[in-house]
């Protein structure tokens, strides 16, 4: 059997609607998209960002591990964007089931899932 890195089940994956043509994003672009400063995928399609509540542990881990930021920083970035006319707020979902369902059904959607919630209704975006 192949050796697996520890905690593989707990890795949080960046996921998108199956029709999104971008298969990898670099970290800075992912940060810009989740901070709502970049509104389109690299090919021009509108991005629809989905996030869990600020105090959800999966959200906190995704923001820290994949975006190298803190949830309070991200919330401040959204407030600054929304109240200065530079962009819009992300779409909120209650839990990981709703996250998967909304990302799977919204064209241009991007979100994140724990590996155990993953199925073929969404595609995984690899991060550089």
């Amino acid at each position: 059997m192949e050796a697996q890195p520890p905690n593989i089940e707990h890795v949080i994956l960046l996921v998108a609607h199956p029709d999104v043509s971008t298969s990898c994003l670099n970290k800075d672009t992912t940060r810009a998209i989740f901070a709502m400063r970049q509104r389109t995928w690299p090919d021009g399609q509108a991005v629809q960002v989905f996030v869990l509540p600020n105090r959800n542990p999966t959200h906190a881990r995704f923001v820290k591990e994949q975006l190298a930021a803190y949830p309070h920083q991200l919330q401040l970035a959204w407030d600054r964007i929304v109240f200065s006319g530079m962009g819009q707020a992300p779409n909120r979902v209650r839990d990981l089931n709703e996250m998967r369902q909304r990302v799977a059904s919204t064209p241009g959607a991007v979100g994140y899932l724990e590996r155990e919630y993953l199925d073929e209704s969404v595609q995984v975006i690899s991060m550089e």
Binding site: C24, A32, P42, H72, V82, F83, Q88, G108, E128
Partner: protein, 402 residues
């Protein structure tokens, strides 16, 4: 042949990068199966403060009776995306900070059409036309939204009310660029436009000595901001050049205002350290006017924020303003008979506490111990000779947003 360093196997795997590039061919698929109205968002905020001072008045008669309730901020905005790279956004703001009740009349805070012509993995380039918010320092663009402020009052040495109107927004065009570099992100923006010269401006700027204020020459603003790769370190430099036409007792005069702001911030999980330094050049020139001047002042503050729990945080800050570097104590100002020396500086020690039990509610309290009246609003204290050099201020604020 020597293999170049960038082609070595490293954390930036070239094969994965190549796959990444090849897998995203530019296509012209139509995604227009949703109506722009589906993208409509409406957000708003409301904050109400109670201000109590021992000496001097701040935003209303704060030294009388139980204090002043005349610091109210109310805003609502709407935005929509008619096409993937376009955003239309506008915000109405009603704000009262002392003064008359009619000051709370809603105004257009911003109203922009924003177009991102380039948006890829390396950069984002966009343009805003309309009334856009000026990026000056870390806080200017959202200075009226309590949830974006670390304290009830922003450090007044830099974000004082006197130059608020001319600095807050401009009617014109602004260009912004976000460039992703190997060590982090560079964000640049620059705009040209006319500042807002509403009815309260001459009173805020010069007291009651000036009749009208208008802007025939456009003003300019620019900011460059660097954020390192882990988002912990931010540095910014902002500059503006504002020109206003005024008249003093029928004689035309020109007011020029040039602020420079250098900003630094370090963010950790549980704390943030922020410092900003500003140089402000102000001049008023004209023939036959009684009070021409050309002065440079400076401001700086150092602020430490501590997040004790996800809902509770506290802050301590030292904030200093000097109105005229050539007369730091205000001695010459007083000798010339313009007013008390202590109106030319202000040193403010602030401690504050914020409680944010939900995303929609925040309660805050803070205490200011101030030496000097450099940023004390003139409209609340029309007789500067009656002001006290040493004063204390207690503020409480309730803020809501949706």
């Amino acid at each position: 042949m020597k293999v170049s360093k960038s082609f070595q196997w490293s954390d930036r795997n070239p094969v994965r990068l190549l796959v990444c590039l090849l897998a995203t061919p530019p296509t012209a698929v139509s995604w227009a199966d949703e109506s722009p109205l589906d993208t409509l968002q409406v957000h708003g905020f409301l904050s109400q403060a109670l201000i109590v001072t021992d000496n001097n008045d701040f935003f209303g008669a704060s030294s009388q009776k139980a204090g002043s309730l005349e610091f109210t901020e109310l805003g609502v905005n709407a935005s929509l995306r008619p096409s993937p790279n376009m955003l239309i956004a506008a915000q109405l703001l009603s704000r009262r900070a002392g003064g008359e009740i009619r000051d709370a009349k809603p105004t257009l805070d911003y109203g922009v059409i924003d177009y991102q012509m380039v948006s890829n993995q390396e950069r984002t380039l966009g343009l805003q036309a309309g009334r856009f918010k000026n990026p000056l320092g870390f806080y200017n663009q959202t200075r009226d939204i309590a949830f974006t402020r670390p304290s009830i009052l922003l450090p007044q040495s830099i974000y004082f009310d006197r130059t608020r109107s001319i600095g807050i927004a401009a009617d014109g065009v602004s260009v912004y660029l976000e460039e992703r570099i190997s060590t982090g992100t560079l964000r640049m923006s620059g705009g040209i436009g006319r500042p807002q010269t509403g009815s309260g401006l001459s009173r805020q700027l010069f007291g009651n000595t000036i009749g009208s204020v208008s802007s025939s020459t456009p003003s300019a603003i620019a900011q460059i901001l660097y954020e390192n790769q882990n988002g912990k370190f931010l540095a910014a430099l902002s500059a503006a050049n504002v020109n206003l036409d005024t008249d003093i007792a029928g004689n035309p005069a020109e007011f020029n205002f040039q602020p420079w702001v250098a900003s630094l911030q370090y963010n950790d999980d549980l704390w943030s350290l922020t410092a900003e330094f500003a140089l402000r050049q102000q001049s008023l020139e004209g023939d036959n006017i009684p009070t021409s001047f050309d002065i440079t002042g400076q401001s700086w503050y150092l602020q430490y924020q501590r997040r004790m729990t996800p809902t509770w945080s506290w802050l301590v800050r030292y904030d200093s303003l000097i109105n005229n570097n050539a007369d730091r104590s205000g001695y010459q100002y007083e000798q010339s008979g313009f007013g008390p020396a202590h109106s030319q500086f202000a040193d403010d020690i602030t401690i504050g506490l914020q409680w944010t039990p939900s995303a929609h509610l925040m309660l805050a309290g803070e205490y200011h111990h101030v030496n000097g009246t450099g940023w004390l609003p003139g409209q609340d204290n029309p007789d500067s000779s009656a002001t006290q050099q040493h004063w204390n201020m207690l503020l409480f604020q309730l803020s809501l947003r949706f």
